[in-house]
Symmetry: C2
Subunit: 273 residues, 2 copies
């Protein structure tokens, strides 16, 4: 089962549309700063390193301290897998990925990614979205999970519960003995009919684009103290640790010779240890 050129085009149309909607939301929330888009292209490197390209969209404002929404599509000779079955086969990977770090300590970090992969003769989709608040608001957690649950409602019964549990497992930080936030969903290796899979990625990403800005709007202007702000910077250290020590997406990107700047857009703008 191969992705056709038409499949790839359809996926990229979705990913670019998600990026565009996120950029509009970031700019509306910040009220001043604009998203700066930078395109990059990269020839395949030695040792099976990937070639391809993408567009980073990054905003650095006073309300939205740093947020990114990146689209990329890369191919390579050797899939740099931890997974034995797929290791070292030719691959295609495309996706959209976003992380937001707000200035206000009451406004949660959130992350979303949806992607399509072709490795050897097999293609699949994966993705997820999760919320990481420094100050926890049960209302935000409930709204975020409800939106993702709705996005899963077209799938077989139990899908949301399964992907929610997968998320909790994936974002567990062993050396901190805690999860990184209040969860969300995570899924990978979903195989089957391409149109149905892409529709699911559309549902998940559109749910995120709808619910997360709503959460930010009600938190990003709340009053806070200098102590709150300082604690937020230390707390961000956990996020940075997770991204660099455990996250498979970051590792995949760095090990496959991806575009370093694009990969590290996810890192918090200022961190204290």
């Amino acid at each position: 089962m191969h992705l056709t050129p038409a499949h790839k085009d359809q996926a990229l149309v979705l990913f670019k549309s998600v990026q565009q909607r996120l950029a509009a939301a970031f700019e509306a929330i910040d009220g001043e700063a604009k998203v700066v888009f930078t395109s990059w292209e990269k020839a395949p490197g030695a040792n099976g390193q990937s070639g391809g390209g993408g567009t980073m969209g990054v905003i650095r404002g006073k309300v939205v301290e740093k947020a990114g929404a990146n689209v990329s599509a890369v191919t390579g000779d050797k899939y740099p897998a931890l997974e034995g079955e797929y290791k070292d086969k030719p691959y295609f990977a495309a996706g959209v990925s976003t992380i937001t770090h707000m200035f206000n300590p009451h406004a949660p970090i959130a992350h979303m990614n949806v992607r399509v992969l072709q490795v050897g003769d097999i293609f699949w989709v994966g993705g997820g979205a999760d919320l990481t608040p420094f100050k926890r608001y049960p209302e935000d957690t409930a709204d975020f999970h409800r939106a993702l649950q709705e996005a899963c409602s077209g799938q077989e019964s139990g899908t949301y519960e399964k992907y929610k549990a997968w998320c909790d497992e994936y974002f567990y930080i062993p050396h901190r003995q805690s999860t990184r936030g209040v969860g969300g969903i995570f899924f990978d290796y979903l195989k089957g009919d391409f149109a149905a899979l892409l529709a699911f990625l559309d549902a998940v990403s559109s749910a995120y684009v709808r619910v997360y800005p709503q959460i930010l709007q009600r938190r990003c202007h709340l009053p806070y103290t200098d102590v709150d702000k300082d604690q937020q910077l230390y707390w961000r250290g956990r996020y940075a640790e997770f991204n660099l020590v455990y996250d498979r997406g970051t590792k995949f990107g760095l090990l496959s010779g991806g575009h370093t700047e694009a990969i590290l857009v996810s890192m918090p703008p200022v961190v204290k240890w």
Copy 2:
């Protein structure tokens, strides 16, 4: 070949003495802040996680922004090795480790570690020291290397050159396609007579304790601009990335269930991405 209790005591005496000399140097350079010592102890955990203890010495001042000198000694049932030969065997590991982050962008980051390990029936020593300046001064690089070269002068011919090359290789950051600093020395798996090995660790650590404070004294009060300071914070991101993505010491600590706070003393106090 086993480390005897007397060997372990001798090693710990050296490590504690290095820690004490470093603490005195940090306090002299800062002129105001004091090193805070915190001891920790940890029972062996599930899944072969290590038990043991140690003492962190951390200073956070206005000149020395953050520096740590930690001594630890841990044992475990299963060596969490990447190395096949030693994987999952009972082990003992003890060492002293130090990293310094100065407020002034002209003053280089430096790191030093010396350690003894017993895994199964084999013991060895390892360690190294490297200099990572944001603003490069050839005089500092030359002095640092000369001190380490002298520390190697009691070893067989070519030792310094070999350990210098090993350091360049170890501290290469693939995703940045550059080394992390201006080098130093790195060595591991040195086996043989315990007294001779410990004397070498003494020579290396004492060279560091002597030369690095000299370098700091001539850089830590130089004038700099806001732009220098801001660039220093972004540049520190590379250091954080190396520590979390590649460094074997950090990985060993986190994966073996070490003391998280002690391990992360090495992280820069403030970082921007």
